[in-house]
Symmetry: C2
């Protein structure tokens, strides 16, 4: 008999909460998409297991770099969020790079590649201008290194059957893109979008704020960003006391024009990819949220509001797929020495 | 009926070969030991799964280094033989190290640590003088980094239960040593020593030569080396045309005394750990064999003889245990920024 009032109270409370959650989810589904389970094709081609296996080898191989020591993992470490840990990426032989390395996780689903949009296609990453710090492997040397190892010759033949000359920078890039396409990190937010789980109350409030204040204007779609370029440069910010004045960034943009068109990064795994912005100038995520609100939306988010949005962003931290370290092919007498 | 002569011929040939193989194996067993299946204790303490798991996290974590980018794997890469690929190891922020990084595989079984024997105990590696390039993490900063991440706090508590202050350089070193103790690579040579497989004919000839010429005087025991220091410094050798004159190394040793006491390295996985010697001055294994013969044993090995010994050394290339890349604990607002 005593259970009835409690049950009535439960339903009285639960009904509006459930309606609220549904309404928010409907709204969210009009702006975002859950992460796909897998990516079956790239550029219209089926991704094969042999391509993925080869790409995984290349991704972990420091010998492809001119210095013999800088693998893709140096800046895109799957153990620590798929990005680098330094503000600016280090390229060949610890040359300072010009920008912060974004995460490799879910990068295949980004429509916009690189902070400044140099490349339209992730598979073109290997064929860019050699002055870039990211360009740590010169194509001729990389091909010579790969062709010197029977294990790689066999892996390229398996991945690109029927090609007379399978070891090329383009095929290496395709294999790398195939491996990268497997690096998807489904998150609690995806579960919730699919109706398979709840979001913590603070995260729901943060999501509502995220939509209401306009963050989703740029950070939308399957990756919540990573899809478009915008006229803004985030000024270097040393600490919380040094938030830029409203308008500073827009003034920079006006002065320098298109040079300061920057990508709205994907927010997936953003809790794991500090430091933030293209120059890695900010380490605190709530602070980064406040800076974006001010400089991009002209809205002053309170610390409490930034914390709520951060609680939502935490639901984008995904489950990393298990990655077994490859045992790489053995060098031979023909393998070029590192520079 | 026609099968009998063939069978007789088979037994006529097989009997002496088998006897030869057995005799060589008996001799080999008096000098070498097969790799153990696992290492159950270190310094008298049982190696626990929690220690190993923590050590694996630490081994792959670039954030422990002052530069935030140099994990243990930078110089001891399990994907490419457990060593570095450059002649000289690169330490913190691409500082040139003074020596070539030896492989981490089977290192637990080395009685002699480091090229020059600074440390008696692998677990002391974390507490050495800070001027060393290998010393990429200053202890206070490393402890601050670890203590800032709840994931590490829990992992240290699990690995060192009952300790009031489990996060210390010494416990980190113990965990790293526990993980390293799992990195054993049983090889065809071990199978053969155990009577579970055959060695190729060239490898048997190479092994007989290896023993006959005295190589096993220093390269003996379970790791075929890694157990003792000897008065020699291998001079830098740019190529095959520049083999040092006999006696050059001994002259160096006489001039400089104990500074040139160097470790006889383990020969396990030597086919995968080019370049060779403490300064990584030689990339060809047969050449390295010839140099050792001349400078250490006073014997001029022909190219054919060096090739046979190399064929034997190839049977020491072991099966690498599967290693899953850890997903490392998340940084917090308290985590120190990289220097």
């Amino acid at each position: 008999m005593r259970v009835f009032p409690a049950l009535c109270l439960f339903f009285a409370l639960a009904a509006p909460m459930s309606a609220l959650a549904d309404s928010l989810r409907d709204h969210a589904l009009s702006l975002f998409e859950p992460l796909p389970e897998r990516i079956a094709t790239l550029d219209g081609r089926t991704v094969t297991e042999a391509e993925v296996a080869l790409g995984q080898m290349l991704f972990f191989d420091p010998r492809l770099a001119d210095d013999g020591a800088t693998a893709c993992t140096a800046c895109h470490d799957p153990a620590t969020g798929g990005d680098g840990n330094r503000p600016m990426s280090m390229g060949h032989a610890w040359q300072g790079g010009p920008q912060n390395a974004p995460t490799i996780f879910n990068a295949t689903l980004n429509g916009a590649r690189f902070w400044q949009g140099w490349d339209e296609d992730l598979a073109q990453a290997g064929t860019r201008d050699p002055y870039r710090a990211e360009r740590i492997a010169t194509p001729d040397r990389m091909v010579a290194v790969l062709a010197s190892m029977p294990g790689y010759v066999a892996a390229f033949e398996a991945a690109f059957p029927g090609e007379t000359n399978p070891i090329r920078p383009e095929t290496a890039s395709r294999a790398l893109a195939a491996f990268a396409s497997t690096l998807l990190t489904p998150a609690p937010f995806d579960d919730w979008l699919r109706g398979e789980g709840a979001l913590p109350d603070e995260a729901r409030k943060g999501l509502a704020l995220f939509i209401d204040r306009g963050c989703a204007g740029c950070h939308q779609g399957v990756n919540l960003g990573g899809d478009s370029y915008h006229p803004l440069r985030v000024a270097r910010v040393p600490g919380t006391e040094a938030l830029p004045e409203s308008g500073v960034c827009f003034a920079l943009e006006e002065a320098d024009g298109a040079e300061y068109l920057y990508r709205a990064g994907s927010l997936r795994n953003i809790t794991r990819t500090s430091p933030y912005f293209s120059e890695g100038s900010v380490r605190s995520l709530p602070l980064a949220v406040q800076i974006m609100g001010r400089s991009q939306l002209g809205t002053d988010l309170t610390e409490a509001e930034a914390d709520l949005i951060t609680a939502f962003l935490a639901t984008l931290q995904g489950r990393v797929p298990p990655i077994t370290l490859p045992v790489l092919p053995d060098e031979t007498a023909l393998t070029p020495a590192p520079n």
